[in-house]
Symmetry: C2
Subunit: 317 residues, 2 copies
Amino acid sequence: MMPTPPQSHLPLGTGVEFDAIRAMLQVWGSQASGIGDDAAMLQVPAGESLVVSTDATFEHVHFRREWLTPHEIGARAAAAALSDLAAMGATPAGLLLALGVPPAWRGEMEALAHGVGEVAAAALCPIVGGNVTRAGELSLTITVLGTSPRPLQRAGARTGDALYVTGMLGGPGAALDALLRGATPRDVDRARFAAPRARIAEGRWLAEHGARAAIDVSDGLIADAGHLAAASDVRVVIELASLPCLDGITPEGAASSGEEYELLVAFPADARPSADEFRAQFDLPLTEVGFVAEGHGVGLDGRGGRVDLLRGYDHLS
Amino acid sequence: MMPTPPQSHLPLGTGVEFDAIRAMLQVWGSQASGIGDDAAMLQVPAGESLVVSTDATFEHVHFRREWLTPHEIGARAAAAALSDLAAMGATPAGLLLALGVPPAWRGEMEALAHGVGEVAAAALCPIVGGNVTRAGELSLTITVLGTSPRPLQRAGARTGDALYVTGMLGGPGAALDALLRGATPRDVDRARFAAPRARIAEGRWLAEHGARAAIDVSDGLIADAGHLAAASDVRVVIELASLPCLDGITPEGAASSGEEYELLVAFPADARPSADEFRAQFDLPLTEVGFVAEGHGVGLDGRGGRVDLLRGYDHLS
């Protein structure tokens, strides 16, 4: 059951900040609810846990203006945030958008709002609050709330588990490589970079079909496998040859590509999911890519020394 | 009842971003809980509403580095965010800190974390999540969650209500005026500017004693009275002569001083709160400052023409 936010938002006061918020509310229409109070109100179904996550996208750090349309920037930021709910197997309940807006971006706020709204709508996630402030560079800090009777966590993986990943990997990494060297990315790569999907329904399906740990692939499969291993106090072994690579992408490229927002999921070896059923439901592959062993860190299919070559994306490095 | 977050946080992976998060976790100790998963988990007591708000503080927009210590910057950002829960009469349940960190600020992250942690601790609010990214300017975007059986809203004011404000006004405005002209603020003003308090316990007391609408004073009393008036579809009349001014502050200064984080609250005229009881409990004045009338906008004690002179702080102007 979706938590029920208040059905309408309040009249707002005056001022440029509120004009900007009003323009975005007009874009969002009935998607936005309860905005204009000091805080938004949500109901959490009895017996369910609330899950909450915050995620930031900064110009110059996470993208350059010439790489993406404002609509894509909004959509991508929302997908990145909602992906954390997908990794918990949670049902979205609300999204809050905090915008830092430089003068040069003021004319793009409706397009940004459109992008955020489109992705939120696809996730059936109401927009319940936010904040607008001027800033020296564009930033979107998005907080998402969701509910689940039994959230998936990173810490649930156990020795012997089988590891699966959703979708096809490598597009965002290849697109970013091309953009960074001034080349034009292939359309197939750019689409995955500019318009990632948050695997909300997929995450719920996986949780309902027995997954016991999950993480979304934001830093790169190897790096995120490392986070899963650390949280679960296990070793994760990835079989490079088994990775689902987009056409023309090497396994190494697929393993290090960040901002995929696919899900890496652990299942007990005796309770594996049906990839056929998953594909029939979501038109998306679900591929076994490795297993969980005793120890710690990430091993690559007998080539453990390769791990250092495949660095995930580190936002402060 | 406090919602119960998970009792411990997960081991984290490797990388500079995670080192920064680890350093902050060390500062927070047992104040931080459940950090390291894709999303934090919280339980909301049955029958209570969840309230959530996000608030951003940007260098150059909300402060200049030379005005405040890093500890004060963190404390101030947390107080500003928690103040939105105070205005809803809610009990804090969790705080998420999204940091944008320029290279020149990296050495200050522990001091920032100390400031956030001190204010969160005073509000009995666990720190449940966050995000760290590099950025061109320092920003703290803080999301707070709280719970309440019956949240106070801006829209609840009715014609005939009496309006009260907590505390003594004018310090932050006077401090900011001094800083902006290169002067040294008085200690009493600077203390209110650099270390505001979120009126959490006060907000709950007011809600329990019959308040039916509230807003926190962040843009300035007149500007926030305007937001309350717009949300409640009423006119708010403020009696300038009645404002509780810090020594040496004019009523006009008190009425336009922003970032006070005091509460402006409406009570039915026949169910007024006891200012004596309030003061006995919180060592803080609770002052009647006006009333609610039919109409819209804000009137000043028969001097309606003055409203335009008393502009609130508008983050995009």
